[in-house]
Symmetry: D2
Subunit: 182 residues, 4 copies
Amino acid sequence: MVAMTVRTPDPNPGWLDETELAAARARLPMIYVEAIPVRLDDFGRVVQVGLLYRADASGHFRYTFVSGRVQYMQSARDALMRHLEKDLGPLAMPQLPMSLAPFTVAEYFPYASSSGLTDDRQHAIALCYVVPVRGDTQPRQDALQVAWLTPEEALSSEVTDEFEGGRGKLVTQAMAWANWGV
Amino acid sequence: MVAMTVRTPDPNPGWLDETELAAARARLPMIYVEAIPVRLDDFGRVVQVGLLYRADASGHFRYTFVSGRVQYMQSARDALMRHLEKDLGPLAMPQLPMSLAPFTVAEYFPYASSSGLTDDRQHAIALCYVVPVRGDTQPRQDALQVAWLTPEEALSSEVTDEFEGGRGKLVTQAMAWANWGV
Amino acid sequence: MVAMTVRTPDPNPGWLDETELAAARARLPMIYVEAIPVRLDDFGRVVQVGLLYRADASGHFRYTFVSGRVQYMQSARDALMRHLEKDLGPLAMPQLPMSLAPFTVAEYFPYASSSGLTDDRQHAIALCYVVPVRGDTQPRQDALQVAWLTPEEALSSEVTDEFEGGRGKLVTQAMAWANWGV
Amino acid sequence: MVAMTVRTPDPNPGWLDETELAAARARLPMIYVEAIPVRLDDFGRVVQVGLLYRADASGHFRYTFVSGRVQYMQSARDALMRHLEKDLGPLAMPQLPMSLAPFTVAEYFPYASSSGLTDDRQHAIALCYVVPVRGDTQPRQDALQVAWLTPEEALSSEVTDEFEGGRGKLVTQAMAWANWGV
């Protein structure tokens, strides 16, 4: 734990070892960025929503978003880009938002969640964005897939009920923000 | 440091001792809420901006906002309310925002800041809100004062140049967001 | 129609006679403001949604929002205040939004609506706001009532299906914008 | 004026003749869409602002935005696209906004403007958007030019003071909304 008290920059300032990260997670809210990838038509209307999914141990599909921690000394834009590349591959051509103001702030709690959003590992606060993607998506992690659904499909309860951590309601918020169907 | 690895809730889960907090600050971004108090007319237009200020060691006035850390297991709304009460007193009658989406996300860095916002102590990410106040403001901390300025005064360079950490540009953003003068 | 060609201000510049208004409605989009009244708790969370309703000719209840036209030379804030007073009474104490940026822009068409929103009379473009109300609501028009529902009730399909012009989907958008349930 | 009273759709429903349009402008607010074109870097940050300009009768340059009326039965997205193409040419590749919620609503008055925004011809209400452009801009109208400035240049008083109708303050609002410099 000694290294943790060093206050000057080190070569990997954002990286805590596993023990340190576990300790911090038990005492501090972690800050995340999350992105819902979408495809737009020429008029800016959402025509497809990109959901990440993987099978859990029992073979059950669970959906999620592009999501990841903002590291020490990293800007939110850099974090967003890094996690988009990691989860959608290098050819996705995401269009990052002009404004850092997220469409919502999602609050995940490990227990006793007042928001309905949960994360077993930690109290996390996520800045949530809708990110248009123009290129091809190809997740780098073997187990992870991208499904492109219509907004109707993404908003159906069969899909929204199968999100990790209750994120399904964020799809509703994102589509409402993007004026889908209005 | 042993206590830090405890992962089940403890009686003061949000409170780290000074050493632990210093260690975390050297490795993780801290999450803050910030509020710019305003007084509105009946039509929702900003007529006054409330700035906190205190004299520094050399007797120089420095302005700031209501600002404070989100603690472990605390919601952003609770954090906002707690810091508003601490900095404006119990009679301020703040009207918290309906939407958690902040008008901007401010990124403070201890050095090499790409945003122009700085915080010697840490990398901090602040969710920034404009908060209408209807009651009387009476800071609880002796050294802290509240000045109610017109938007013109708050936006003048004499004021914006005297903010802690470069926050003056956030006043410009806040007034632009609130359509002041348009 | 002669009066319509007068280009200098007249005593009632916003008032067209019925024939003129009908003519304009057949050729130009009309600009409206709409407000969904809400009651908030101390933390800014929506606890009640105020819906206007009246029985139609067949005794069927139809819901709507506070809604009205922006008149010539009238500011959007003035129009919003005037329609809130007309529909909610003089004691409602509405808190008008700081920012004129609406949570959405609703497009109503008399036929062939691409938005799903309809208005038999006209093509109307409405700036939509969520407006907290602190006082008592007492509609001035005899036939109109205000119902205060919980967000759950307001979002139920029994209610959203009974809105004039398809406005039910705007309730969903408004509650998503206000982070209800998240 | 007879044609104006026809209430069923006609072949050119959005087109009023000059006399009719003049008459309507003397009695009703006109609804506009306005767009500030920008170029973004890969991280979504504004690097250039596109301003339209033309010399006035005295050879003085006046800046403006992409701006135009929403016609009868036309959606706001269609109007935005049409005016972007007209003012920036067919190769501009604008990315229309996902959300119809504008960054601000601008109110122009022919006299006695409470907003500081003026339009000699009419009372106009404009939905204002910032629109990223990826292609080449080539105005179709001979007299009109596009200047790509840095945000610093666009925000300088030499530029903001030279806008038609007081629109300079909207540049400030747009850049604040896009978090430029923060």
